[in-house]
Amino acid sequence: MRIFDPHIHMSSRTTRDYQEMYEAGVRAVVEPAFWLGQPRSGLGSFVDYFDSLVGWEPFRAARFGVRHHCAVALNPKEANDPRCAGVVDLLPRYLAKDTVVAVGEVGYDFMTKEEDDAFARQLELAIEFDLPVLVHTPHRDKAAGTRRSLHVVRESGIAPERVIVDHLNELTVRMVLEAGCWAGFSIYPDTKMDETRMVRILQEYGLVRVLVNSAADWGDSDPLKTRRTGEAMLAAGFSADDVDQVLWRNPVACYGQSGRLELEEVPAAPDATFAGDSVLRGPRGVSRRGSGTGTARSSTSCRPARRPAAGRRAPVTRTAR
């Protein structure tokens, strides 16, 4: 099972998560910019965060065989904080970067005037930089917030197929699909959506323009929920090809609209191995050895993968035990 997690906040996770994700079949992720769990105090805090999203985090992910991309934006919560008002002006610098594949997360939290302004300006930036945009839907008053988001998207003039509307549920999925946008579902241990409900939604609405993500962050969340959803699909009678469409081909098609996805297997660069105590502690290669990815159909790349150097990476075509 090859997996592309289209929404996961890896900066909040450990290298053990990367290791387990790789073993579960995750080969690529998109990390959208969000808040810290507490307010940032100013612009410099965003600069460091965005720098890490295009710098350290992709490097860290690559050490574990995972391709890391990101989306950058002023998030809806902090759009209301006057200390963060200048963030939108910082964005063009980052939207020009290779690994930035979308604008996001944008959208509504409290649905204020400030959120309206930030949302509209960032949709303009998405059009200007020819990038998809990831829209967060509010946790409170979700249906009304989703409806209002779809209106703002339409008014912006951006093509609906370049818009992902995320954190959907049974009550918001229909309007998003009918609007022509991508429907994103965050599978959580308790809240938002779980894998059983997700399977029922797939049975009712089909597999087209649907994205499944773990949205894992510093909260109660699980980076393997994508894999669990794939397993629940198989148990419910979906085929391996259906699972591949939802967990790999759909996110690749969606974020591939940026023209910037890099999905070749992470090369085992001889000059980039970590010893010492920066990321990989202990003998090299241990973290990526001996892990089949679940099914025989586990090619990780759209293009033919380079053969890994001996002992540096799990042979990904091997069937699981």
């Binding site: 295009v54 992709p58 490097f59 023209g259 000059d271 010893a275 920066s278």
Partner: protein, 217 residues
């Protein structure tokens, strides 16, 4: 290393479109350096990111986007080159930072690249650490910073082949530092990288030669 070598190596690796984009952009950069803000990050997408495959050893490990970005920086006038090079480094993603570090030896920036090299040596990104220890560092870093750069390479697994002029510049003090590193590794039951042993062996030999010379005279 000189600009013509890089230009020559790059010429054979660009598509017609890539070459056209690079020529046009270089012309614009000379008049309006602000063009770099979007062009510098886009160089990989426009020109490619494959290996440069240059003939000589001095461009070993270079990629097409490294060379294209070097051309963009070379297009800056003397008035802009220090400010823009610094800006492209600090505002860059790792690929852009690496390109700036690699370009430093052929840019007319004097000592102003030194803070960038020191910044890269503080990072944990092995690509940047490796690029930082090129010919510019060998020429411009004070000797103690250069030794610490070598040690940083060793510590984070960057092969010493990335360090320009290593054997010419290695001295007893570096030897002492590397010997301590090796002792620490052995005490932890870990191996000592072959390239470290090689430097230590060479320094040992030099010391022996020097002392035997002294004895014989």
């Amino acid at each position: 290393m000189d600009a013509d070598t890089i230009r020559g190596a790059l010429a054979g690796r660009l598509s017609a479109e890539g070459a056209h984009w690079l020529d046009e952009t270089c012309r614009e950069v000379a008049d309006e350096p602000a063009v770099l803000a979007a062009a510098f990050p886009a160089a990989g997408r426009r020109c490619g990111r494959g290996p440069l495959d240059a003939a000589g050893p001095e461009l070993a490990g270079w990629t097409v986007d490294d060379a294209a970005r070097t051309m963009l920086l070379l297009a800056l006038t003397w008035l802009d080159v220090v400010g823009e090079t610094t800006r492209m480094y600090y505002g860059g993603d790792p690929a852009e930072k690496r390109a700036v570090l690699r370009a430093l030896p052929v840019l007319d920036v004097g000592e102003h690249g030194v803070p960038l090299v020191l910044d890269a040596l503080r990072s944990n990104d092995t690509r940047l650490v490796a690029a930082a220890m090129g010919p510019y560092a060998a020429d411009r870093l004070d000797l103690e910073s250069w030794r610490r750069g070598v040690l940083k390479c060793v510590y984070c697994g960057v092969p010493l082949a990335n360090v320009a002029d290593l054997h010419a510049k290695a001295d007893d003090r570096l030897g002492r530092m590397l010997a301590d590193f090796a002792a620490e590794r052995r005490a932890a039951g870990r191996s000592v990288p072959a390239d470290v042993r090689l430097v230590l062996d060479r320094l040992d030999q030099e010391t022996r030669c020097a002392s035997s010379t002294r004895i014989s005279t």
